[in-house]
């Protein structure tokens, strides 16, 4: 099976000497294409750091992140940004929608940043899948948390990335909405053939994943 994402002895340390914090220690992760992998850990377990490194937002102390066999940290900064917007999608806990533009504009923004024209039919399909068609002209701060997260998902999906990284996507939502958002996420990822890596502290949500990795004190293990 194709390994879309792989890490080799990925480490991230903060501070030094006695104050050294080992946020991620020798993580060796293999993620297959099309998989839905949940990384579960308590807060402070280093899971966010791990995800940020996987997505190229943060640089590791040592080790490599290989996306489709390429070490992403060998790219120059702007090349990495281009890579990110074409191959990687992000969904954040706090949605992080751009407040000054409406839902549709938020969704097509990454495509626009890439200098491409949004495939309106495709985006509309996503919008329908996520049930946002009536909210397209709303500004983000008029939407409920669940709706905002749907917009964030739509935004992540719209640029057809290979991998989606979701950082506590349901952290700000109640449990029923969380379940639904995860279901949506999973459904969309399947529908558009993408790989999803999600970090969460909520084991209930992790059940839905194909595979669960547990991170504790910076060490990553597979839950079987």
């Amino acid at each position: 099976m194709d390994k879309i994402l792989r890490t080799e002895n990925l480490c991230k340390y903060y501070g030094s000497g006695e104050n050294e914090v080992r946020a991620v220690q020798n993580a060796n992760i293999d993620i297959q294409k099309g998989e839905f992998v949940a990384i579960v850990g308590k807060s402070g377990s280093g899971k966010s750091t791990l995800l940020h490194m996987l997505g190229g937002l943060d640089t590791p102390t040592s080790g490599k992140v290989l996306i489709r066999g390429k070490d992403i940290f060998s790219y120059k900064e702007d090349a990495l940004a281009v890579f990110r917007r074409r191959k990687i999608g992000f969904i954040f806990q706090s949605f992080n929608l751009v407040s000054s533009i409406n839902v549709w504009e938020n969704i097509v923004l990454p495509i626009g940043l890439d200098g491409r024209k949004a495939d309106e039919a495709f985006v509309m399909d996503i919008v329908k899948t996520l049930g946002l068609e009536k909210k397209l002209h709303n500004l983000p701060n008029t939407l409920s948390g669940g709706q905002q997260q749907r917009v964030a998902i739509a935004r992540a999906l719209a640029s057809r990335p290979d991998i989606l990284f979701a950082d506590e996507p349901t952290g700000n939502l109640d449990s029923r909405t969380s379940d639904e958002v995860i279901a949506l996420l999973k459904m969309s990822v399947e529908k558009y053939g993408q790989t999803l890596v999600m970090i969460t502290h909520d084991e209930d949500i992790a059940q839905i994943a194909d595979r669960i990795l547990v991170i504790e004190d910076g060490k990553v293990e597979e839950l079987r």
């Binding site: 940020h52 997505g55 937002l57 943060d58 640089t59 900064e77 702007d78 940004a81 281009v82 890579f83 990110r84 917007r85 074409r86 990687i88 992000f90 954040f92 706090s94 992080n96 751009v98 407040s99 000054s100 533009i101 409406n102 549709w104 504009e105 097509v108 923004l109 990454p110 495509i111 626009g112 940043l113 890439d114 200098g115 024209k117 949004a118 309106e120 397209l136 002209h137 709303n138 500004l139 701060n141 008029t142 935004r155 640029s159």
Partner: protein, 806 residues
């Protein structure tokens, strides 16, 4: 209490950008204020110090006062110091040389001792003092103290000349005014006066100063001393006030003070606006933090105090620094101005201490008050928030429906537009406040940029290269020979002179204007200009006309026009009234009757008639009022020398050159420009602080959003271009505002100025260079700002920025 100060200090340290911006604004404000204050104060002090120096410290003088009247004066409390002087007679010469005696008090009041180069004032009966040039005139070219000179003089025009041998006791320096007029004074002793005049013949000119208890200012002085004269039995007609002294010393430059206060108010207004803006925007960001402090139990008062101290702590360094810099700058500026200033041309300018500690303290207080005023609202806002509200506070609440039409496709450009339209209010406020400060600039640029020194010089010397004018008085009762009627009867500028000038080789053209004198119905002497069509039209072009001013009609109907539209009431006539007066010149006198149809803006004459109206008077000979001589520029020095030779023996004229007028107007314009632009630069800087703040805040508050966008794949260059576009929009907006408002305002000001005959305003043209410079500077500042900011923001990793939560 101490806790709050500490908290305020740490808050300031935390918001480094904000603190620096506010400190800079306060600093600049203080610089401006203290510079203005020092400049104004120095000017006034300098003027008053030098007024005494140049014009003497007497309040006024009475002529023809007898011993008894002096005794009366000495009895009165109003008079402080009384000095006597008397005219002994005139020395025989082509030039007017008067012989006078002054006592010590008078010499002191008139500040005459300053002019003494060597020796002493005369004490003995046969001693005399005077300028070197004066002795030269009467045939003693190289006179020294102790030399004997023979002088022919007479007491008055009814007597014959007598000769007397004098001993030169002192040599005086020449004042500029004397040099110009080529009139001289010889000083003799009291003994000399008394030997020549019997006690009953004696009449003195009294110079006096009033005691401090008399409440006078420049406008009441004349009346006061006339009243006093009457009290003492002195004819009030012979009372004269020392106008310059009263203007500078009694009334210390009201105009200057008002001007300074207006400018200072503008500065304070700007400062309040900018500091308020910076604080307000910063607060909204920090409102949660303040909420926490409040939740911990701070009272309303303490919250207010906290904000207040945050502001005031920032003034601690910036105000003193601003005071020092502002004072230094303006002292340096004044000194360079004085050293440049050729109009004074005097080595004896009194150096004054231009620094006034109370004034500077006032400036500091004004800056502090500006900060306080700017803090007032934020203080209120902060003290009013409830902790829960504050912690929940999510930036600015939008009142709109939360809908946006938006676009189908998004790019960096659309994003910028969306940002702008979203924060429309803030964007517009910033653009307008930026724009307004640019408006000031544009308006001033419209004004200064259009000042034409040539035009201004041409106002002084309308034709040719040289101008020879008659100088005359109209009400000199002491020396009636200086009055216009007397002068015109023996006009120094006669046809012969014109012929002589015409004979000078290099002279290419000569223009002449005739003039007359006239007595109105009250017997007052008036000057009349006789203008031909060309001169009439040129005068008309200067503007500020009243009534019908047209050469053809005036010539046909024999109308008369008033020379000063501003003071037309003083003529005693209304437009359309018939004016009757006796006019005269070298050719005799005749009655004139004509309708006053209009008035010129500011001509050199009281009244103006056309040459055709003059012809109708049927007098035998015209009197020349002004001669203009033209030559090629390269021949100027040559012609000037020859002209001066021709004029050596003449009196009652003024000789001016076009080049000289040009230089004067250039030097004063340069001054004006430096001042105006310097001021505008500082105002511009403060305004730029405002813009910088808006941009910085807009970036800081969107730090997270920017981080998210980068996570979504925005490259650095895209981010840069987005920030740059925003800035460019700000800049373009402000420039647009400034042009839209500033150009019409500037044009209006220009028209107003032209209408009122201000300094060298002639043809309007758009001040392209100034505006281009403004645009370039703004853009450059803007670009470097967004560059620095985006560099700054890149220091933090994307992850940090995404997590960034206030």
């Amino acid at each position: 209490m101490k806790m709050i100060t500490k908290l305020a200090l740490s808050n300031n340290k935390k918001n480094k950008t904000r603190s620096i911006l506010i400190m800079l604004s306060i600093f600049l404000t203080t610089v401006l204020l203290s510079a203005i204050a020092t400049f104004g104060y120095g000017q006034i002090k300098f003027q008053s110090a030098n007024a005494e120096e140049f014009y003497g410290s007497y309040y006024g003088s009475y002529a023809g006062v007898t011993e008894d009247q002096i005794g009366e004066m000495e009895k009165r409390s109003e008079f402080d110091r009384i000095g006597r002087a008397a005219t002994i007679g005139t020395i025989e010469n082509a030039r007017s040389i008067s012989m006078v005696w002054m006592d010590n008090e008078t010499r002191d009041l008139a500040n005459l001792d300053r002019q003494l180069q060597e020796g002493a004032f005369p004490e003995q009966e046969n001693e005399i003092a005077g300028q070197k040039a004066m002795f030269e005139r009467i045939g003693y070219p190289d006179v020294k103290v102790g030399d004997k000179v023979n002088i022919r003089f007479r007491r008055n025009t009814h007597e014959t000349y007598q000769e007397k041998e004098f001993l030169v006791s002192g040599i005086m320096s020449q004042t500029v005014k004397e040099q110009e007029n080529q009139s001289y004074t010889a000083y003799v002793s009291k003994a000399c006066y008394e030997s020549l005049y019997a006690p009953e013949e004696r009449a003195y000119t009294i110079y006096f100063s009033l005691s401090d208890s008399v409440d006078v200012n420049s406008s009441t002085l004349e009346m006061t001393i006339k009243d006093l004269a009457e009290e003492c039995g002195i004819n009030p007609e012979y009372a004269f006030d020392n106008m310059y002294y009263s203007m500078w010393v009694l009334d210390p430059g009201m105009e200057m003070i008002v001007g300074c206060i207006v400018v200072a108010l503008i500065v304070v207004f700007f400062a309040v606006m900018v500091i308020y803006n910076i604080f307000q925007v910063g607060l909204i960001q920090k409102i949660q933090e303040y909420g926490k402090i409040k939740a911990l139990g701070a009272t309303k008062k303490q919250m207010k105090k906290l904000v207040f101290r945050e502001g005031m702590l920032l003034t601690i360094i910036s105000i003193p620094a601003g005071l020092i810099v502002g004072t230094t700058v303006s002292i340096g500026f004044m000194n360079s101005w004085l050293s440049q200033s050729t109009t004074l041309g005097n080595q004896d300018v009194v150096q004054v201490n231009m620094v006034s500690i109370p004034l500077l303290l006032l400036c500091a207080a004004a800056s502090a008050i500006a900060v306080w005023a700017a803090l007032k609202r934020p203080m209120k806002v902060i003290s009013r928030i409830s902790p829960v509200e504050a912690i929940r506070f999510q930036g600015s609440q939008k009142k709109n429906k939360g809908l946006r039409r938006g676009r189908k496709q998004m790019g960096v450009r659309q994003l910028t537009q969306a940002n702008m339209s979203m924060n429309r209010k803030r964007t517009i406020t910033t653009i307008i406040s930026m724009g307004l400060s640019c408006v000031l600039f544009v308006v001033a640029a419209n004004f200064t940029g259009n000042v034409s020194t040539r035009y201004d010089a041409r106002k002084q010397v309308p034709y040719g290269q040289f101008q020879i004018d008659l100088t005359y008085s109209k009400a000199d009762t002491a020396y009636p020979e200086n009055n216009l009627d007397a002068i015109l009867k023996a006009n120094p500028l006669d046809e012969e002179l014109v012929e002589q000038i015409r004979k000078i080789d290099a002279v290419t053209d000569i223009k002449i204007r005739y003039m007359m004198y006239a007595y109105d119905q009250n017997g007052n002497l008036q000057s009349i200009g006789v203008l031909n069509k060309e001169q009439f039209d040129d005068e008309e072009y200067q503007g500020s006309l009243k009534g019908e001013v047209d050469y053809e009609t005036a010539a046909k109907n024999g109308d008369i026009l008033y020379g000063w539209s501003y003071f037309i009431e003083e003529s005693g006539y209304d437009l359309g009234d018939t004016v009757t007066m006796t006019m005269g010149d070298a050719g005799g006198e005749a009655r004139f009757q004509g309708t006053m149809t209009g008035a010129f803006g500011s001509s050199n004459y009281d009244w103006i008639i056309t040459d055709e109206a003059y012809d109708q008077l049927g007098l035998s000979g015209k009197s020349i009022g002004t001669i203009w001589v033209d030559c090629r520029p390269q021949d100027c020095t040559d012609v000037q020398n020859q002209l001066e030779d021709l004029l050596t023996d003449k009196q009652h004229y003024e000789f001016s050159t076009y080049q000289g007028a040009l230089e004067t107007s250039e030097s004063s314009l340069g001054m004006f420009e430096t001042l105006a632009y310097g001021f505008l630069l500082l105002v511009g800087l403060i305004a730029f602080m405002n813009m910088a703040n808006t941009i910085i805040i807009s970036i800081i508050t969107r730090k997270r959003e920017l981080g998210v966008m980068q996570a979504l794949g925005m490259t650095n260059s895209q981010m840069n271009s987005m920030l740059r576009n925003e800035g460019v929009l700000f800049t373009a907006g402000s420039i647009l505002v400034s042009l839209l408002v500033g150009m019409p305002a500037g044009y209006a000001l220009f028209c107003y100025g032209r209408e009122h005959g201000y300094f060298g305003l002639d043809v309007y043209h758009i001040p392209v260079i100034e505006i281009a410079a403004m645009i370039i500077i703004l853009t450059a500042l803007q670009i470097s700002l967004s560059f620095i900011l985006s560099r700054n923001i890149k220091k933090e990793s994307i992850v940090e920025r995404i997590r960034y939560q206030e």
